[in-house]
Subunit: 212 residues, 2 copies
Amino acid sequence: MNDTDKPTISRREQSKQNRRDAIVQAARASFLENGYAGTSMSALVHTLGGSKQTLWSYFRSKEELFAAVIEEVTSSFRAELSQLLTGSDDLQRSLLDFCRSFLRRLDADDAVAAWRLVAGESGRFPEVGRIFYERAVRLTETTLAQFLARFIASGELREESAPRMAELLLGLCASRQNKRLWGVGTGDEASREADAIAYSGMFLRAFAREKG
Amino acid sequence: MNDTDKPTISRREQSKQNRRDAIVQAARASFLENGYAGTSMSALVHTLGGSKQTLWSYFRSKEELFAAVIEEVTSSFRAELSQLLTGSDDLQRSLLDFCRSFLRRLDADDAVAAWRLVAGESGRFPEVGRIFYERAVRLTETTLAQFLARFIASGELREESAPRMAELLLGLCASRQNKRLWGVGTGDEASREADAIAYSGMFLRAFAREKG
DNA sequence: TCATAGCTGTACCATAGAGTACGAATTTGC
DNA sequence: GCAAATTCGTACTCTATGGTACAGCTATGA
């Protein structure tokens, strides 16, 4: 009796949903590539096919559409990032793996574009930065912090603030992103691997307890 | 006989210079606040007083003016950052001081705005990111690396790549900037001090040699 | 004093943008 | 099959933009 086998949504609402998704996807592509001001609603209508009337019936303004796109971008980020931390007991290995996967995700073109969009527009649209942080970054921080807390408890990490540690490691990972934003430094496998090793290595040296 | 007491530049050229500066300053303010697309040449003329003819006689297009602004922004950054590293022999103290000053500089509203502008526009204007990195960030990296190299030589830091170390420390500092971009986290003295301590502390733990 | 380089103001052009209006065509639920 | 909800296409308004043209004004330099 759940809503998957007996959809309460009618054909109409279904196609409305699809339509909405299509709009958001197209808008997402354009906003990521051209920024807010560089995205034209008229052009969007042309890309999508259909009429302005229709577009405006789904989103009453450009800003509203933009908000929906930001929402979409952060939620897709969130979905992918929540699975980066395995339940492994090997601290060193887990951290390296985490850095690797996280950096790989950040290296993707759309991630770079999203980062640029958020950074560029959060001055004029304060919501954008806040949403991005709250719904994408912060979640990763807390998840990582919980992961680290286990190793503090087990004595493998120093007894210091886990959230702070998480922040520092993520900060390191994000710093690679800056060079990508600036068009410096490539997103190739080799440099990524080197960075993953450097970041997790630095972290462990700073926060791992000496053994024995 | 130097050119300060006997200016070779005529009154005309002097006032041209002033005019140009005024234009760049006004443009800078607008680009930083409104971004590239959000800056209007017509509005700029209005702010400056004078006529379009004049503005276009100094800069033949909006892009050319934008380039001049980026140039100005990076060069003013560079000028300030080159003096952050004292010749002190106390490693720990120097690093903490460096982080403090660097973070203070980054916390300034115009630095945040500049960071946003560069991040936001370097997708559409690849030059912008490259120039910003080459002329502002890279210089800081190499200066810091040279500074660190002295302590590697003296045995206070591990024998590892000084440029890499510099990159990591600056990366940490830059990570604070992200939160500012997103409008999360304030630029107040207290949090800055805490971050400076955390960054330099983490760095030292990771790269300082254990004593005796 | 005078020629002139440079400035001003204003009108103008072509293009583009967001958003509205509306009648006709199409799809949906029943 | 029919009424209602959507969608379509197109034309429209209003505002703004980067950039040009031009006639008159002003400070400069000799």
